[in-house]
């Protein structure tokens, strides 16, 4: 019974957390491998449970009811196709992260602040996916936030990190309250919090709509939808890299799970305008996220912003799913939902891969600012391969997996002219354009990231003296890259595995993917469109192999090393290279004025004046400016005003009491 095994191993993770606390208190050196090894094993068990429940059919699914949690309701846990799928996503990430951490954790200067919370974090995420009642769900959800907050605060001497942790926890609790309200609506006044009960209950349309909005606020703030994404680029870089990988690659998916669970499974029949909201938020996040990413100098922050982009893409897919579901286009809905869940899976893979790469760079050079890096391809060759693979995947380039899922979403968009609602007819192509734009910008962003970090010449001593990292870290990344390749080359089985999920959510499924002929995938029908990652991969290999062979055999293979040509400029110094900022400059110049109110101003001294010329650039984060800063100032202003009440004289306090008394007496007199 996988569910029982899963719950047991979650409990095991909690136990590991406790043990880790004790070990950390005693500052044992060998604690690190032990803790990560244990979490690896338990996560692997959970992964198995997920796979069994997903592939093994209903025989391996099931529900459990424990007498803990909310009294008179207890805690329900269930393992259905949806939760199984996300259990797989979560725990694959968890396994690899634990493996990576065995190597990476050795460099941790304060293991005592990481070890106890890592397994707790894993336990929290798994519990969210497993729990099947509102209370358990929220407890697990907030526990997940709390433990990851502790991990963000691991390096607390840095004021930046403290701020990051604060913003993160605040946003998390905002999200939780929104979810709480949503569940309150779903459960109704007499508080029937079990999912099974909610599912069967009938929900008034406008109420369900309110639930959707609350879910967008609640789950969206955790997943990082614009404009609720602000905590994400702060918190993800602050945590240790293997945790950043989990937060960015996996935790956001848990949020997506929460959204799908409530909106597709619990809230009843969707209305067509739901899709409008979701599509707008999704495409907005996709483009804004990647635009921010292109301009970042901090490698991990860049990755965090690209997470915002990918979450946006996932939500575009979900929005399409809603649009099709309302119009009973089950086939299309199945395609859209499957595509977005598949993209969630893919993103969890390559985002973890990239964060691990960033972690390697951090351990190898101690630098996160790409302006100070460069030339690492020579000093850290393996990290370079692997990071390049991640870049290709996330830029949606064939034959890797990122392309497949985005291709499927585009195919889903092509089905949508049959949607009757006009708003959607205008919106869906627009979000398609946004998606394409985001993909192209992502390519630019990762050319920049890889090129500046790994290629060209070192820009700082740290980069010159970089060293390759431990085998654990490298092997973990190889595992991820291989899965990325497999998912890109043989996507068919993955999509088949998702069909029970779409069956459950939209009561429809994609056509069974033919394993033969030629391992191609077919979203709707062969005549419409098909794609065979295998053939493309094979052709590319063959073509390049053939080219190399032919040229080397029938022409020269001689090589001469020489100083760079560089149009004849002799040995230019590394500072003459293109920097990250200068690489991004054209894109900033084109998109900046709209997205960031970018302003560039030069001060050019008159000829003969020795003063240096200055170029000043101002970028404004409009979300902060127009949403968060006003809020903050309002709160502080109110606090200032009210604070006077702390300094009154006894007499004035008495007069407050007196006033209250007279007021109430008058009320009573008039009421009577």
């Amino acid at each position: 019974m996988p569910i029982a095994a899963a719950l047991l191993s979650v409990a095991g993770l909690a136990g590991v957390a406790v043990v880790a606390t004790i070990l950390a208190a005693q500052r044992r050196a060998w604690a690190t491998p032990i803790v990560y090894g244990a979490s690896l094993i338990l996560a692997a068990v959970l992964l198995m449970c997920g796979l069994l429940a997903l592939l093994g059919g209903s025989a391996f699914q099931g529900a459990v009811h424990l007498p803990v949690g909310l009294p008179w309701i207890g805690a329900y846990f269930a393992l259905d196709p949806l939760s199984a799928a996300f259990l797989v996503i979560v725990d694959f990430g968890a396994v690899v992260a634990s493996f990576y951490a065995i190597g990476y954790g050795a460099h941790e200067e304060e293991p005592g602040r990481v070890l106890p919370f890592f397994p707790a974090f894993l336990a929290g995420m798994n519990l969210v996916v497993l729990s099947a009642d509102a209370f358990g769900f929220l407890v697990a959800w907030e526990f997940m936030s709390l433990s990851s907050w502790a991990l963000v605060m691991a390096h607390h001497h840095d004021a930046e990190n403290r701020r990051a942790g604060y913003v993160y926890l605040l946003m998390a609790s905002f999200g939780t309250l929104m979810l709480l309200l949503a569940f309150g609506l779903l459960a109704g006044p007499d508080g029937d919090y079990a999912f099974s009960a909610i599912r069967t209950a009938h929900h008034v349309p406008w109420l369900a709509g309110l639930v959707l909005v609350l879910m967008l606020l609640g789950a969206g703030s955790k997943a990082g939808l614009v404009p609720l994404h602000v905590w994400l680029p702060l918190a993800h870089p602050a945590a240790p890299s293997h945790v950043s990988a989990l937060m960015s690659g996996v935790m956001t998916k848990v949020a997506v799970y929460g959204f799908i669970r409530v909106v597709f499974d619990l809230a009843g029949e969707p209305a067509w305008w739901w899709a409008v909201l979701v599509l707008i938020l999704g495409s907005g996040s996709a483009v804004l996220g990647v635009l921010h990413a292109v301009l970042q100098r901090d490698l991990k922050r860049l990755l965090a912003y690209s997470t915002v982009e990918n979450v946006g893409i996932i939500f575009i897919g979900l929005g399409l799913g809603l649009a099709f579901k309302t119009n009973d286009m089950t086939g299309a809905a199945a395609l859209a939902v499957a595509a977005s869940i598949f993209h969630a899976f893919n993103h969890s893979l390559f985002k973890s891969l990239l964060f691990f790469g960033a972690g390697n760079v951090l351990t190898g050079t101690g630098e996160r600012d790409i302006e100070k890096l460069g030339g690492l391809v020579h000093r850290m060759p393996e990290t370079a391969y692997l990071f390049l693979g991640g870049c290709l995947a996330i830029s949606a380039l064939p034959p890797l997996n990122g392309f497949v899922s985005e291709w499927l979403i585009l195919q889903a968009i092509l089905l949508s002219p049959d949607v009757p609602q006009w708003a959607l007819r205008f919106l869906i192509p627009a979000s398609g354009a946004m998606l394409a734009l985001a993909a192209a910008l992502a390519a630019a962003c990762f050319v920049r990231a890889f090129g500046i970090t790994f290629l060209s010449r070192p820009r700082s001593p740290a980069a010159e003296t970089a060293h390759e990292v431990s085998r654990w870290q490298i092997r973990a990344m190889y595992a991820l890259l291989i899965i990325c390749l497999i998912a890109g080359v043989f996507p068919g089985p993955f999509l088949d595995a998702l069909s029970p999920v779409s069956q459950m959510l939209v009561s429809g499924a994609m056509p069974k993917q033919p394993i033969l002929p030629h391992l191609s995938i077919i979203p709707i029908s062969e005549s419409r469109s098909s794609y065979s990652g295998f053939l493309v991969f094979f052709f590319i290999l063959m073509a390049s192999w053939a080219a190399i062979r032919v040229i080397h055999n029938f022409a020269s293979r001689a090589v001469r090393r020489a100083p760079p040509w560089d149009c004849g400029f002799p040995d230019a110094s590394p500072v003459t290279q293109y920097t990250a900022d200068s690489f991004a400059q054209p894109i900033r110049r084109v998109f900046g004025p709209i997205a960031f109110r970018a302003k560039v101003s030069q001060t050019m001294p008159p000829p003969g004046d020795m003063a240096p010329a200055r170029l000043t650039l101002s970028l404004r984060d409009l979300v902060w400016e127009f949403i968060y800063e006003p809020l903050e100032s309002v709160v502080l202003y109110a606090a200032e005003r009210l604070n006077i009440l702390q300094f009154l004289t006894i007499r004035s306090y008495l007069s407050l009491v007196f006033a209250a008394l007279v007021l109430l007496l008058v009320l009573v007199a008039t009421w009577a």
């Binding site: 702390q646 300094f647 009154l648 004289t649 006894i650 007499r651 008495l654 007069s655 009491v657 007196f658 008394l661 007279v662 007496l665 008058v666 009573v668 007199a669 009577a672």
Partner: protein, 220 residues
Amino acid sequence: MERFSLDAAHLLAGGMVLVSFMMLYQNRILGLLNVFAAHAVVLSLSVAWQAYVQSAPHLFVTAAIALILKAIIIPVALHHMVLRLGVHRDIETVGGIGPTMLMGIGLVALSMVVMLPAAAEADPIAREDLALALSVILLGLLMMVTRQNAISQIVGFMSLENGLVLAATGARGMPLVVEISVAFSVLVAFIVIGVFLFRIRERFDTIDTQALDDFREGRE
């Protein structure tokens, strides 16, 4: 006889309200103390009358306490204190005497409006008594709110408490009245002692509560 007892009770209660107004009118501490003593005397008379009318001997104890403690000991003590602490003799009021008097009248009206319909079923003595007692209480509170010096605030509090005792004795057959009045006397004694015990004289140049609060501005 019944009629007369009623009128007498009302007369005494009304007398207390009147004396409360006189207290509001005072702008000299020593004068205030004397008026307060009068207030206590009227109270003890009214309590005694209630004891007689209700033929509840234990109320005489309350009356005695009122007379001895409130009409004699405390005023004298405060008098003594004013002289010893060298409190400046006149009372700073908030917003002048006149407006306070007007507010007082408004409060009396309010208490009538509130109590008379409310206590309809209760027997007439209790009813008028309650209304008057409530106005005494409100006037006492008003005094605490509108007077700056600690002494006058204490006096205000004690007049408030007189009103309570009046109400309690007015409630026919209410148990624990004596205990409560004793407890209250303890409370009042505490306040008076507090002024000594907390050595407010030593710590502050004045027992004006404004100055008391000056200490906190710097701290918080």
